[in-house]
Symmetry: C2
Subunit: 200 residues, 2 copies
Amino acid sequence: MSGRKQFDVGAALDQAMRVFWQRGYADASLDALGAATGLGRGSLYGAFGGKDALFRQCLDRYATTYGAQYEQALTAHPGDPVRAVEAFFDVVLARIADPSVPAGCLIAQSAAQSPTLKEDNSAHVRALLDTQRRRVRAALAGSSADPHVLDELATFVVAVNQSLALLSRTGTPDAELRSVARLACTTVADTLTRTTAVQN
Amino acid sequence: MSGRKQFDVGAALDQAMRVFWQRGYADASLDALGAATGLGRGSLYGAFGGKDALFRQCLDRYATTYGAQYEQALTAHPGDPVRAVEAFFDVVLARIADPSVPAGCLIAQSAAQSPTLKEDNSAHVRALLDTQRRRVRAALAGSSADPHVLDELATFVVAVNQSLALLSRTGTPDAELRSVARLACTTVADTLTRTTAVQN
DNA sequence: GCCATCATGGACCGATCAGTCAAAGATACT
DNA sequence: AGTATCTTTGACTGATCGGTCCATGATGGC
């Protein structure tokens, strides 16, 4: 009963994304994806082309949606890397605390299952993690510290971000997650002042 | 063709543990578990009693095996919390670098899939994470810093540990993981000296 | 040495998986 | 208005899932 598409592709992608986000790739059945999006199998295959392809598009949608928020937070405090990282963690913590969205983070979830994903999807997850790392690195670029130290700090911030997502999946209370993020921020602050002082 | 057990229960548990560790609960089929252990379905059910029960016993075996190593590392430097945490991360990093064992960490893997596990297994994972946290906390107990700060530091160390496991699953090189651990150690050191100084 | 007991392997079960396909109907072009 | 093109629905396929069951045969107690 059609001729032209009967649904909003973006909205369907949002719903499918949440299913992968909540259950992970393996536990997200096409029936669950169909129920969440309100689409039959034919529509899913016609619009997105199979579970793998749908998953990849959900990864991209996730990266676009939240990557924009990360970018905004990280660039809102030019010249103040510590503030930028704090703002970055604030975005992450706000999303984790948002009850209208699954626990954790789709990227972290996918990273944990990376070895069981098909190689191209696994590579895609790696690329998204690297994008996040480069974004954080760019926010640190203003500092006069050793570039190599900045690389390490960026990796560190991404690592802590992943750990927040993972721990939130086990029901770790928001207050504990906030203190982890706060400690990571002091790491960034201390490391920057230390290496800057040495260099001056 | 038997009368008495034909296999080493512990060795079979080790093999099954690795399957769960590598693939996660959902992707670990009974066929894969049977192939890895060399056991038929009848033996698996007779000895362990179903996939859920087997999974729980694998969690316990993992916790016992590596928990002992954690305990040893954390208590090897009494009165020196920073050294203890460094030793703790050394154990984790050594296991991650060990090619004879799957990437990541079974607990982290299970934590990521926690919402899709049956409630009792999910609770079990939480309990194991809490045990790890208490172990780290005990190693920090000697410090004269604010006990609440020590609680936060213990959670922080556990969080970074989880992130190391998660990142290693995406193929993050050992050197980057080591720098993340090193930064976390400086955070512990700085926080301890800082709050101790304030308190004195 | 006989027999009750038990572990083993493999066939089997219903459920569910991802993916395919054809019938049916709605649209757009001519 | 007629027709070609497209989407949608839902049934269907073969594979695989976790779990059960039973015939087989080895064991240990008596």
